[in-house]
């Protein structure tokens, strides 16, 4: 078992070396969070009224979820890039744990997600966001968001493994993840959305995660009055969704990888 873990560490380190070589890769977890914060809180959010609190206190959890969801595309692109070069053949001829290629990718992406969380949090604090709960609860909130991000990155791993190449992985990823992230309560309360969108938004895992974070941060949560089950029990729903996605996508990714490399 420790040999497998060792292989994962080596693969993670390799991915981090890639980032060190080309730090601009991280723009979706460094620059985007800051940009989105400015865009949504000061540009779009200027007119949105939140019962029981300020827009920025409401929006932070949504920005967190939004950024973490869209940055998962990096997993798809990274895996797809590896598969399009000869380096996978090199790995395959070595006595290493085959799946370490996938797990190493998910670990390095989790580290990138942690960076994202930090930047969102710091940017939020800088513009006046304030949590209103115990430290443990706030940390738990970030933890729930990270768990969801980890799960989505395994889903993106599956996408990367079936894509023709890095560009199509990115393209498809954007088409899937952006609507997923935005048709939710991440940036606006859902009550005034048209009925179909409202329904989707209320049952969207992204909404559960954003609502869960709001509860754990002690921030205003307008979704709490909505009848749908995930909106009534957001923390359970958020963790539940993450575990379901993980338990489906991780083994699926392993299977897809095996299929993809078998000749």
């Amino acid at each position: 078992m420790s040999a497998r873990w060792h292989d994962v560490v080596v693969m993670t380190r390799r991915n981090l070396l890639h980032i060190r070589r080309e730090p601009a890769q991280l723009s979706d977890v460094t620059v985007q969070p800051v940009l989105f914060t400015i865009l949504f809180i000061f540009v779009f959010g200027a007119g949105i009224v939140i019962a029981g609190g300020s827009y920025k206190d409401f929006a932070l959890a949504g920005l967190l979820t939004l950024n973490l969801t869209t940055s998962a595309i990096g997993t798809a692109v990274g895996l797809s890039t590896d598969l399009s070069t000869g380096v996978i053949d090199r790995f395959r001829s070595l006595p290493m744990w085959r799946t370490a290629v996938l797990v190493g990718r998910s670990v390095s992406d989790l580290l990138a997600a942690t960076l994202c969380v930090t930047i969102v949090g710091l940017t939020g604090l800088a513009i006046g966001w304030r949590p209103d709960a115990s430290i443990i609860s706030v940390v738990a909130g970030f933890g729930v968001a990270l768990l969801f991000s980890y799960a989505v990155s395994w889903g993106c791993a599956c996408l990367g493994l079936v894509s023709q190449g890095p560009e199509s992985a990115q393209g498809v990823g954007l088409i899937v993840l952006f609507p997923l992230a935005f048709v939710s309560n991440a940036m606006v309360p859902t009550q005034r959305m048209p009925s179909v969108l409202r329904f989707i938004a209320n049952w969207n895992p992204v909404s559960a995660v954003a609502a869960a974070c709001r509860d754990l941060f002690g921030n205003p949560n307008p979704s709490s009055t909505i009848r749908a089950w995930p909106m009534q029990h957001p923390v359970v729903a958020a963790v539940g969704w993450s575990l379901i996605i993980l338990s489906v996508c991780a083994p699926l990714a392993a299977l897809l990888y095996r299929r993809r490399i078998t000749e």
Binding site: A3, H6, D7, V10, R13, R14, L17, H18, R21, E22, T85, G86, V87, D89, R90, F91, R92, S93, L94, P95, M96, T262, E263
Partner: protein
């Protein structure tokens, strides 16, 4: 099968869609020896190597490498082999050193040991100066040396090199041959594929000739050349001379052919050293002046033509492109 064979294959077949890449390959490589797998592009050499190195699964047949079955005991095979494919399989975003350390660690070395091994190999393959530059910036020859270094990080028992000198300029080819000889001087078993008879000739103990996925000839270099009837003598006279044919006839293995202008003579000759000298002496005794004499060894083309009735490539010669190392 004999138990001291490090590579054994029986009836290996492989199809890719409608194409049959391998139609039943048999191999038997003794431990510590070098096998040259000789054949033109498309013969199935790369497919055979991919199967033996567990990168591809055969559709039929069996093979063992280092005593382990390539299909059912693939993991054990991988821990005993090194591979350098035709295209370098490096991580281009890492430096040469980082590549070698990573491969060392993934081969089971501890980080410190992997670092030492990497330095040692970088030195041996003359890459120390470039070691800390990204491998994407390396020249073609450097990339190939790094790939070769990568293939021996784990000190494998069996090494597979797929066309190690294709695309290199002549000087780099010779250097690469030296490197390869050193690599296996410690008893490593080597299977190398090549398009060039001279490469197989120089490096290999035994040669198998592959065409259309089948082994069509097998033996030592001498045996194969003898089967094609040997070398060709080519002489260019200063001026046409009817007595030249008679002078060369004793050396020839068959008829002596004369070109239309009477100055150039060709004949098949048996193998032997000093043929050039004998030819010149014979003509000199007859008082004939010689401008040029050459003893042409059989090429892959000749072996192929002999074995298959057609040249190895449509143009008749193996493709070469010079790439500075």
């Amino acid at each position: 099968m004999p138990t001291d064979s490090t590579i054994q294959a029986e009836g290996l077949t492989k199809r890719y869609g409608d194409t049959t890449a391998l139609a039943g390959i048999e191999l038997d490589v003794e431990a510590g020896s070098i096998l040259g797998m000789l054949g033109p592009n498309g013969a199935g050499k790369t497919t055979a190597v991919r199967i033996l190195t567990t990168l591809a699964r055969p559709d039929g047949g069996r093979a063992q490498v280092a005593g382990f079955d390539i299909v059912t005991e693939a993991a054990q095979v991988r821990s005993r082999i090194g591979v350098a494919a035709q295209d370098a399989t490096l991580d281009e975003a890492l430096t040469g050193r980082q590549n070698l350390v990573m491969i060392g660690e993934l081969s089971g070395l501890r980080r410190a040991d992997a670092r030492v091994r990497a330095s040692e190999l970088l030195d041996r393959f003359d890459l120390t100066d470039a070691a800390d530059r990204i491998s994407k910036t390396y020249s073609g020859g450097m990339r190939r040396r790094l790939d070769l270094a990568a293939s021996v990080v784990s000190r494998p028992e069996v090494l597979f090199l797929d066309e190690p000198t294709t695309g290199l300029d002549p000087a780099s080819r010779l250097r690469m041959w030296d490197v390869i000889r050193q690599l296996v001087s410690d008893g490593t078993t080597l299977l190398l594929t090549t398009q060039y008879l001279d490469e197989a000739d120089t490096l290999a103990d035994r040669i198998v000739v592959i065409d259309h996925g089948l082994v069509i000839a097998e033996g030592t270099s001498l045996e194969l050349k003898a089967s094609t009837g040997g070398a060709r003598l080519s002489v260019t006279l200063s001026a046409p001379n009817a007595a030249a044919v008679a002078a060369l006839a004793p050396l020839a293995d068959g008829a002596v052919h004369v070109s239309d202008d009477g100055r150039r003579l060709h004949a098949a000759v048996r193998h032997g050293s000093g043929l050039g000298t004998e030819a010149v002496r014979a003509l000199d005794r007859a008082g004939i002046l010689v401008d040029d004499v050459a003893v042409l060894q059989p090429s892959l083309d000749d072996v192929f033509f002999e074995l298959t009735g057609r040249p190895s490539t449509p143009s008749g010669t193996p493709e070469t492109q010079a790439v500075p190392a």
